[in-house]
């Protein structure tokens, strides 16, 4: 996100948890968090914010502050953090829209995010309880073999599962025809090229289904670059991205005012 970086107001240094202090800087520091939701929860807790009443503007600023403080881009991990950034920005924009009447409870644009955070928070809490159980169990060793019986013992038991079956076949195939293994090699695609392609596509089709578009790419790398471009377009307010329902696909289209400008580019 090169030229837009300046547009984001600088944030105060937010202290990371102690374990995050590593000499490797940002890249490793983000790894302290399991993902973007984890980072968001951390920021919310730190500010002692009620999860059901998140000051979106402030949290978005803090969140983006983390993403900006990077030394290098690992697109792979970055995409997930940027995805939530895009969601935050979208919610913020929704909240800024002038409205005649106050929003009803169910219409709060933050709802989508809050639901996700609450569920994630619960899973995290369950994890700490499960970890305790794991710690107890892991000390008690069970046997994974049948002890000797009197006489014959030709048992070689394997539980049959769909995965075992499929894995077994796959390994068999691999053994038989190692040379046939396909390697998918992506073309080298630059951000600029992809951006042009994407804008062209948006102009032509007016709206694209993000997941469909994402999955149509030959390589993960190319798909992620496309993803990155969409976030870029959304961030620079050239395009709008909307997710109708949690976990559903995201529809992307050009803003009306941007449509003309982009066409002249």
């Amino acid at each position: 996100m090169p030229e837009n970086a300046a547009a984001i107001p600088p944030v105060e240094e937010t202290a990371l948890p102690p374990s995050a202090e590593t000499p490797d800087g940002y890249q490793v520091r983000l790894d302290v968090f399991e993902g973007p939701l984890d980072l968001l929860l951390f920021l919310i807790r730190k500010k002692k914010i009620d999860i059901h009443d998140i000051p979106i503007a402030a949290i978005t600023r803090d969140y983006l502050g983390y993403l900006e403080r990077k030394t290098e881009i690992n697109l792979d991990r970055e995409a997930e953090f940027l995805f939530i950034a895009a969601l935050l920005i979208y919610i913020k924009s929704q909240m800024l829209l002038p409205r005649e009447t106050d929003l009803a409870e169910g219409e709060d644009p933050r709802r989508v995010l809050v639901d996700r955070l609450v569920e994630y928070e619960r899973i995290k809490a369950a994890c700490s309880l499960l970890r305790e159980r794991e710690d107890v169990q892991i000390l008690q060793w069970k046997r994974d073999f049948i002890p000797p019986l009197h006489g014959e013992s030709e048992l070689e038991p394997v539980e049959l599962s769909l995965f075992d079956l499929a894995e077994s076949f796959f390994l068999l195939m691999k053994r038989r025809a190692a040379e046939n293994t396909r390697t998918i090699r992506g073309r080298d695609v630059s951000v600029e090229v992809k951006m042009k392609e994407l804008v062209g596509l948006l102009q032509e089709r007016h709206m694209i289904d993000f997941l469909e578009y994402f999955e149509a790419h030959a390589s993960l790398e190319e798909a992620l670059i496309a993803f990155f471009c969409i976030l870029e377009l959304v961030k620079s307010r050239v395009a709008v991205a909307v997710q109708d329902e949690l976990f559903r696909t995201i529809r992307v289209w050009l803003r009306k005012d941007a449509r003309r400008t982009a066409a002249h580019d």
């Binding site: 399991e34 993902g35 973007p36 939701l37 984890d38 807790r45 730190k46 002692k48 997930e80 995805f83 939530i84 996700r116 569920e119 994630y120 928070e121 619960r122 899973i123 995290k124 809490a125 369950a126 994890c127 700490s128 309880l129 499960l130 970890r131 159980r133 794991e134 710690d135 107890v136 169990q137 892991i138 000390l139 008690q140 060793w141 069970k142 046997r143 994974d144 073999f145 049948i146 002890p147 019986l149 038991p157 599962s161 769909l162 995965f163 499929a166 949690l246 976990f247």
Partner: protein, 181 residues
């Protein structure tokens, strides 16, 4: 009664998976369930005593022999296992998401975590803590995952009902918030 107890001990010992009451009854045809139950209870009490190095534990809806926690270090030394193989936090988080939301697809798990979970799923499949149970009737017919019996065994649970409850989770969250405040 002593005979029944030694018999049950042999049966639980020889089995690789937890031996359920049903299985014991199937093997010990004609023996009243109450007698089997008291034999098992006696065995659990006997092996739980201080003088024994292995004990019968209730797990996965049945009974199984396991070493006592105090001997972990020496057992690992014998088996030449360097350190306890705890799940990574990504792995545990993925497992929890599956446990609570099953049956789920990869993309559903990833959505809950906000992170691509393909790698974690692979690890869990390899550890046999989860299993593929079919496909979802949805675009792309994605594979559907569930936790396995090994999962129960791994965490010392008898059934999915024993997963931490809403109340327990709420309590943890309260505690965490109190610490932060």
């Amino acid at each position: 009664m002593t005979d029944l107890k030694t018999l049950v001990e042999a049966l639980i010992f020889v089995s690789q998976e937890p031996v359920t009451m049903e299985r014991l009854q199937a093997v010990l045809e004609g023996v009243p369930a109450a007698d089997i139950q008291s034999a098992v209870d006696g065995l659990v009490a006997d092996t739980g005593a201080a003088g024994r190095g292995i004990h019968v534990i209730r797990v996965g809806g049945g009974w199984l022999f396991a070493t006592k926690p105090d001997h972990d270090r020496e057992v690992r030394k014998l088996l030449q296992i360097e350190r306890k193989n705890r799940l990574s936090s990504a792995g545990l988080e993925t497992l929890a998401a599956i446990a609570y939301r099953q049956p789920v697809t990869q993309s559903e798990v990833s959505a809950i975590r906000g992170v691509d979970s393909t790698g974690a799923l692979k690890t869990l499949l390899e550890k046999k803590l989860i299993k593929i149970v079919g496909r979802k009737k949805a675009p792309g017919n994605p594979l559907v995952y569930r936790t396995s019996d090994e999962f129960l065994l791994y965490l010392g649970l008898n059934s999915l009902d024993e997963l931490p409850s809403e109340e327990e989770i709420a309590k943890i969250l309260e505690e965490e918030k109190a610490v932060d405040a």
